[in-house]
């Protein structure tokens, strides 16, 4: 019980990624869909860190760091877009946001 197989970390990453995909496909709320994307990014980060351990290199950590930075930028812009959409029509259901122009 002193060590864990590397595959367990990768399987956990796959499960979390699939959960993110499920949220993205099944939910109808803009903000929840956005949070599912964050869940997928987190799952990929776990894979990066696990492979950094396996290859004994820090480069995987750097990539995970960059993914976090891009996620922060994406969250800022995406939430601003959601605010703008909400100003036009007071609903967060994605099915009502099927035309960008109106």
């Amino acid at each position: 019980m002193d060590s864990v197989p590397l595959s367990w970390y990768l399987i956990l990453s796959a499960v979390l990624f699939a959960l993110g995909v499920a949220g993205f496909l099944f939910r109808r709320n803009l903000i929840t869909i956005f949070m599912s994307i964050e869940l997928m990014l987190n799952a990929v980060n776990l894979s990066f860190v696990a492979f950094a351990y396996k290859l004994n290199q820090v480069d995987g950590h750097i990539f995970a760091f960059f993914v976090m930075v891009v996620a922060a930028a994406e969250a800022a812009v995406g939430l601003a877009i959601i605010l703008t959409v909400f100003k036009r029509r007071p609903s967060l259901a994605v099915d009502e946001v099927n035309a960008l122009k109106y």
Binding site: M1, D2, S3, V4, P5, L6, S7, W8, Y9, L10, I11, L12, A14, V15, L16, A18, L19, G20, A22, G23, F26, R28, N29, I31, T32, F34, M35, S36, E38, N42, N45, L46, V49, A50, A52, Y53, K54, V58, H61, I62, A64, F65, F66, M68, V69, A71, A72, A73, A75, A76, V77, L79, A80, I82, L83, T84, F86, L92, A93, D95
Partner: protein, 166 residues
């Protein structure tokens, strides 16, 4: 001890992840997502990524999720209306997803069977010193480009979210 810690926090991560997807209220989903991120930070520590674990808690669970919760409260988002998912998705979505996870797990298990064992403390290069050195030598250009990206994102968010003054 390592396996016990991994199992506990993996269970927390998966449970909170299911809660993110299943809960109908956005604020509950957001709180569950913070749970996932906290559990992942502990797993990063187990993998020897001390700096990333700290960044995960500060940037992800701190900054990004506060932004999410702030927007949810600003929009006064309530419980999601049921329905809206077409019947093929409702019928086939979950089984196909289970098949995908099963297939992925099988492939991962096959490729890495009897391979590397993760032992806490075996990987010692995940501290701020090593990350900083690599970030400012080999990855200097991506790092600087990231700062421009963040600047553009801030400007874009301000322009998008401002009130029109006529």
């Amino acid at each position: 001890m390592d396996a016990l810690l991994f199992l506990i926090f993996a269970a927390i991560a998966v449970g909170c992840g299911i809660s993110v997807v299943v809960q109908r209220h956005p604020i509950t989903s957001a709180i569950s997502l913070i749970g996932v991120m906290g559990a992942l930070a502990v797993l990063y520590l187990l993998l020897g990524a001390e700096f990333l674990a700290a960044v995960q808690v500060v940037v992800y669970a701190g900054a990004i999720m506060v932004l999410f919760i702030f927007v949810i409260m600003l929009l006064n988002a309530g419980v999601e209306a049921p329905g809206g998912v077409s019947w093929p998705v409702r019928l086939l979505g979950l089984p196909l997803l289970v098949v995908l996870v099963g297939l992925l797990s099988f492939l991962i298990h096959r490729s890495f069977a009897g391979g590397e064992e993760v032992r806490f403390g075996a990987f010692t290069q995940g501290g701020p010193r090593q990350i900083g050195r690599l970030l400012f030598t080999d990855y200097l250009l991506p790092f600087e480009v990231t700062s421009v990206l963040i600047l553009i994102a801030i400007l874009g968010a301000v322009v998008l979210a401002r009130k029109e003054i006529d």
